[in-house]
Symmetry: C3
Subunit: 223 residues, 3 copies
Amino acid sequence: MAADFPLLLVLDLAGTFAFALNGALVAVRAARLDLVGVVALGVTTAVGGGIIRDVLLGALPPATFSDWRYLAVAAAGGLLAFLFSGLLDRLATPIEVFDAAGLSLFAVVGAAKALEYGMGPAQAVILGALTGVGGGTLRDVLIRRVPTVLTSGLYAIPALVGALLAVLATRGDVDDVLGVPASLGAAAACFVIRMVGVRFDLHAPRAPGTRRGPATPPGGSAG
Amino acid sequence: MAADFPLLLVLDLAGTFAFALNGALVAVRAARLDLVGVVALGVTTAVGGGIIRDVLLGALPPATFSDWRYLAVAAAGGLLAFLFSGLLDRLATPIEVFDAAGLSLFAVVGAAKALEYGMGPAQAVILGALTGVGGGTLRDVLIRRVPTVLTSGLYAIPALVGALLAVLATRGDVDDVLGVPASLGAAAACFVIRMVGVRFDLHAPRAPGTRRGPATPPGGSAG
Amino acid sequence: MAADFPLLLVLDLAGTFAFALNGALVAVRAARLDLVGVVALGVTTAVGGGIIRDVLLGALPPATFSDWRYLAVAAAGGLLAFLFSGLLDRLATPIEVFDAAGLSLFAVVGAAKALEYGMGPAQAVILGALTGVGGGTLRDVLIRRVPTVLTSGLYAIPALVGALLAVLATRGDVDDVLGVPASLGAAAACFVIRMVGVRFDLHAPRAPGTRRGPATPPGGSAG
């Protein structure tokens, strides 16, 4: 349980809050939903990755349900984003920043929790990345966008890097608990790579003979 | 297990049947699917909420699979809606009525089952609401509509109210089994609120400075 | 565990590979994704059905995560399809062929695994079909297509036939392990029915008074 490791719990709640702000802002701007829809999309974005992680680990019921703090933080984030969406607009690219923060924190926490549950190092890296991209993918499917993880080459890659660094920091050893500097370092690496990708609109190569086509939404790298 | 409480089982099967009719009618009208698609969408709508509930509770395999009655009722509802879609059209807004019935019954049953599995009262309310909205959300994602739960303010709220009343009726005490009048009362409250919302097209407030935009489908409150 | 039955493991890995090729080719052609998106969609298509199966069976963590061979085969299939998409284009309808192969193999393996986990024969048939159609449904939802299972009458039916033959071959008896000829026969029956459906664009009947409408995408039977 993340609850046994205060650090992981704090990072997990911070990621939950960042994704709740992100999902709710997307709901306000892109989908123009009402209060209930905004909070619902914020909460879904915030807890989606952790639920996918816990279902795949067999850690049921998910931490989100057995620990009320996740739902409280997620709902608070959604409400705040609804109330202050005008104010948040004045920050530079807040949607992308919150998305990258949630991605980074969840990738690290997800990988650490996977190791705790006895997954091998490769599986922990993949499950960490999946935890990071899961909530945003649910968000995009619900409002009918092709998920960022498919359209932006630099979304899955930073999540994999963050999870890999977290696994390396514990040397793949579950008893060697992830420390504060290593966790924050791994999350920071993920965050920086993601924001560089957003800033310069970087993509991975496409298959020979194909060009970017209409199935990719305009501004597909949006968070 | 719902099977230990005949009342919950009956309500659960009634909700399953209502959602199967709803999902299959949506498949016939909105998506113009063939027989297999109609039954598949009806069954998915009918069992989706319960599967999400049971996965999150860790009650695996879900009741849907271990108890053949759910699948039989869901498939029968889908087939009936396919055969008599012309007849059902003559009823007033049958799609919304079946959807509201399934929503109400599943919210109450979902909350009661969550208490049974040791969830706290707040979690039981949320899981009940999630059981109610889950099947319709899967249905909408599969036929590429923004889910009703996001676009209609009065879809999640009645589900939360129904689940809350069910939890209050048991005083949050798992041994204090939900009785017939309390269950039906909680479900009726949810149903009435939902149908008032459909009739008067009520919505929750939107964020300041935003208007309803093109991402919300026309007639977004449809069930 | 499939790992105890080498035959089921081999068929499962073959289905994983076929679906990875299929999902990645769809990503290259229909959605024009970049390398990361192509591999991600290939892997999701490949492991999605098995994850749904294992979650519903309560066999967690899913085989995909506890056994690295699934992820390795899926990633290899996705990469190969990315690199050789031009070459694969010259084969006749490779997307449909790989999809039908994955559908057939997963329906048989899914039904056998469900019996192993104590499901009844009816549930095993349904879970087998769900394993077959699950990965392609996730693929279609992620790239915003109405899933093939809803739009093509001859997608769920061959999966159900393949799963039914697999269950009949074991006489519903979990100790009566599925043999090589029976497994391959059941998978072949599913494959042939599916490809006949693709070739002649066969559909199940529609509800009286409805016609095929705009909600069904053009070429909806594509794999």
